[in-house]
């Protein structure tokens, strides 16, 4: 096991005291250490938001890019280096709102990427507006009479898309979260973990208590059964399931590019002289 201290997951942060980001960071560092991954063997891609600041508070390679665009740059690493563990991490606004189009198409691409979504059902960094997963009764300085749209159930969406690994967890149960991260790493392909976490500053509805009263661990559920997964994915009310909802072994993004095989394209050593035949084709 890698020394957990290498991740420096105790750095000072810009998060509010009691923020759900803290237990998530700890669970991530624990899981990475247990999986024997050194900081330089992991690359994290984040967007913008409080959750997206993660790479500044945990030591791994990271591309802290644009709001909503955490996913597209991660594909480049998948092409360049098949060995690297790739994590896309951001909040519900960044992942499901601004980045909605990318999540849809990357479920289709199925790259071997772990996608951690900090889902606190609100916008924290911009101080408390509705996010795509906010409940309708939420009132905010913008949504003065409630939210004008139904909340997105990301798990139902992902299972509907037959994303190859769909799980839900909560920062309220760190061991469960750690286990989900380990399972996501084991899975070959796109692995979404929608992670419940409270926003102690702005979301007065979806609190620790709100989540702990509702979540239950899935038992006797066969995640390879799509019909069963669809049924479980519908549950979002007084009872909300956590665990692996759906799992399917299918070709990954790299599998669909057969000529890449195990090759790390970053190691491609090419000289102009090797490519002269390209010129001849125009004669």
């Amino acid at each position: 096991m890698v020394d957990k201290n290498l991740y420096q997951a105790d750095r000072e942060t810009a998060w509010c005291p009691g923020c759900g980001n803290f237990p998530l960071r700890t669970a991530l560092a624990d899981a990475l250490a247990e999986m024997d991954l050194k900081p330089e063997e992991v690359t994290m891609y984040t967007g913008i938001g409080q959750a997206a600041k993660m790479p500044h508070y945990i030591k791994v390679n990271a591309f802290n890019g644009l709001h909503g665009r955490s996913f597209p740059p991660a594909i480049g690493m998948r092409v360049a280096n098949p060995e690297m563990t790739v994590i896309v991490e951001s909040g519900d606004g960044c992942s499901y709102g601004e980045g909605g189009n990318h999540i849809l198409h990357n479920m289709r691409r199925n790259p071997d990427i772990i996608h951690l979504v900090h889902d606190n059902q609100i916008y924290g960094l911009t101080k408390g507006q509705a996010s795509p997963t906010s409940v309708e009764e939420l009132r905010t300085p913008v949504q003065t009479h409630g939210v004008n749209a139904e909340p997105l159930n990301p798990v139902r969406f992902a299972v509907g898309m037959k994303a190859s690994f769909v799980a839900r967890s909560t920062v309220g149960d760190r061991d469960h979260l750690k286990e989900m991260i380990r399972e996501a790493k084991k899975h070959k392909g796109y692995a979404l973990i929608d992670i419940f976490q409270p926003c102690v500053s702005f979301n007065k509805i979806n609190t620790y208590q709100w989540y702990s009263k509702r979540v239950y661990k899935l038992e006797d559920h066969d995640p390879t059964d799509h019909a069963a997964a669809m049924k479980v994915a519908q549950e979002f009310g007084d009872e909300i399931p956590i665990g692996i909802i759906y799992r399917e072994e299918k070709p990954t993004f790299r599998d669909r590019i057969p000529y890449l095989k195990d090759k790390a394209l970053v190691d491609r050593d090419v000289q102009v002289d090797d490519l002269k035949h390209l010129i001849d084709e125009f004669k």
Partner: protein, 558 residues
């Protein structure tokens, strides 16, 4: 000799096949070529045409006046009749007793062999009319249909039948071999330059007229073992390409104006994160959807001001198909050297047009990655280390043992961690600006001046108008003392030659494919030097040398 052929018809009639066969054949008979496309944004129907100009002299652009029109439908005869030169010939399926009309029952002839190959009958007939043998055309047919072997014999048969169906009108000859032996379109030229530079990852969303680059590099991906990925939108294109570059691969994206607008934030991201990236913008008239399949130079000021606030950025514009190969190659080396975005401004005229060029000389082409030597990294790696010239040693994730590579879109310190203090902000802005200063002093291409020592007029242009301007200058030189100043690099603007030119007692005539004289405005804002005259055109069609000459006579000469 200078001979102008137009192939016209509707989308779906196989105009492209005719053009491909004619182009290859003329080139092998030793002719210089310049071809342009004029097509509508539709898959079937409409009116499309391609113009192939051939000569025994080097060609720089299209010309006016059609010597031979291959009218694949009746409508084309009427549309192009006013453009025919005095002794021009119209080959069509229209029966007429007019002198210039040559009747060819192409459909009838094709029906007996292969009704889908009507266009090949036209090709055969065209060679007879021009007086050229069909041996080279036969080779071109074999190559063109190499992947569809079943139709090769049909097409060879129809080529011969077309040849026999008409009489010879002209006496074109085989010119033998010449030094310039490549024919390439501008989009393939950008793609070729990129592949020679070691491009490993190209991400793009299809958009006319830039799609040719995407198709060309995608056609090579399996053979070269590289990855070409069609993105879900242009925002993804630029962010994917940046991810590829961050991961250590030479990466690129390409688009046209609307797509470039979507990439704006991503190009700013490249600026602040100092990720090298090459972006090709094949311009078409805008705004919004504009004229999707036509040409223009209207993105210049947008490109140099592509994202909010300031960051080092380079914008360069290839002058022709040959230059596009070298400039794209150079763009990759400069992007890597300065860790900046480099935008290549091409346009539909250059991208879709083909030209005979000198074989690409690779002897001076060296891939320079400017990556850190891992042995030189001591202790904790600083991605944004302060250095004298502002360039920090660049590493990619996994390259350094026991070290991570962090980049950030927020303002950051040397380790890439988010900061908000004024002092670090000032230092980082200064660091990035130093790179721009170094670029200006070490790597800018001054514009090329050609012409007399003491000209009365200087034609000033940038990018793809270079060829038509050179031709216009040649024509004008019989009557005036005229020089030409042709720019490659437009941002940062090279000013040395401009300032020398301003000393000359010459009138400056800026010629641009846009309505607002954007380059004139840029030169004025950077140097205070301004145009005495502007010849502008923003109808989506390219300039020809003769057109510039005519407009010079009307609008400039005193």
């Amino acid at each position: 000799m200078d001979f102008n052929i137009v192939i016209a018809g509707e989308a779906g009639q196989g105009l492209k096949t005719v053009e491909a066969m004619l182009t290859k054949t003329f080139s092998r008979h030793g002719y210089y070529l310049f071809s342009t496309k004029d097509y509508m944004s539709r898959v079937r129907g409409g009116h499309n045409f391609m113009q192939i100009r051939i000569s025994d002299q080097k060609l720089e652009g299209p010309d006016e006046g059609i010597d031979l029109l291959l009218a694949l439908n009746e409508e084309s005869v009427e549309i192009h009749r006013p453009e025919m030169s005095e002794d021009g010939t119209i080959l069509s399926e229209v029966e007429s007793d007019k002198d210039e009309m040559v009747y060819l029952d192409a459909s009838g002839i094709a029906k007996e062999v292969n009704p889908r190959a009507v266009n090949t009958v036209f090709v055969g007939a065209a060679f007879k009319i021009m007086g050229l043998p069909t041996d080279q055309a036969e080779e071109a047919v074999k190559e063109h249909f190499a992947k569809k072997e079943a139709v090769v014999d049909d097409n060879l048969d129809l080529l011969k039948k077309g040849y026999e169906a008409v009489e010879q009108s002209y006496n074109l000859k085989d010119l033998g071999k010449k030094e310039e032996n490549m024919v390439i379109d501008g989009n393939s030229a950008v793609g070729l330059g990129a592949l020679l530079a070691g491009l490993s990852y190209y991400t793009a969303y299809p958009m006319s007229p830039s799609t040719g680059i995407l198709h060309y590099v995608a056609g090579k991906q399996e053979e070269l073992g590289i990855v070409v990925e069609q993105s879900e939108d242009e925002i993804a294109s630029i962010n994917m390409a940046l991810g590829g570059s961050y991961a250590g691969m030479r990466s690129m994206t390409g688009t046209s104006g609307g797509g470039l607008a979507l990439m704006a934030e991503g190009i700013g991201l490249a600026g602040i994160t100092e990720i090298p990236i090459v972006i090709a913008d094949v311009q078409r008239p805008g705004p919004a959807t504009g004229l999707p399949t036509r040409t223009g130079q209207g993105d210049l000021l947008f490109a140099i001001n592509i994202a909010q606030d300031e960051f080092p950025l380079m914008v360069l514009a290839p002058k022709d198909q040959e230059d596009a190969v070298y400039q794209t190659f150079r763009a990759f080396n400069l992007a890597d050297k300065y860790q900046i975005p480099v935008i290549i401004l091409s346009d539909q005229f250059l991208g879709d047009g083909s030209k005979t060029i000198k074989e690409i000389d690779t002897s001076e082409m060296k891939i320079e990655r400017h990556l850190v030597d891992p042995a030189e990294v001591e202790g904790e790696y600083k991605r944004y280390k302060y250095t004298e010239d502002g360039i920090s040693p660049r590493a990619y994730p996994g390259q350094l043992k026991d070290n991570i590579v962090l980049i950030d879109s927020d303002e950051h310190d040397e380790y890439a961690h988010i900061v908000e203090d004024a002092e670090t902000r000032n230092k980082m802005v200064a660091k990035r600006n130093k790179k721009m200063e170094k670029l200006k002093s070490e790597d800018l291409l001054e514009p090329e001046y050609t012409g007399p020592e003491a000209p009365d007029y200087i034609l000033v242009g940038w990018g793809s108008t270079a060829g038509p301007l050179r031709e216009a200058k040649e024509i004008l030189s019989d009557e005036y003392e005229v020089g030409q100043l042709a720019f490659n690099d437009v941002w940062p603007l090279p000013t040395k030659t401009l300032e020398e030119i301003a000393e000359k007692d010459a009138k400056l005539v800026f010629v641009e494919n846009n309505a607002g004289a954007q380059f004139d405005r840029l030169v004025r804002s950077e140097t205070g030097i301004k145009a005495d005259y502007n010849i502008l055109k923003d109808d989506g069609r390219p300039f020809s040398g003769r057109e510039i000459y005519r407009r010079f006579k009307e609008e400039v000469s005193e």
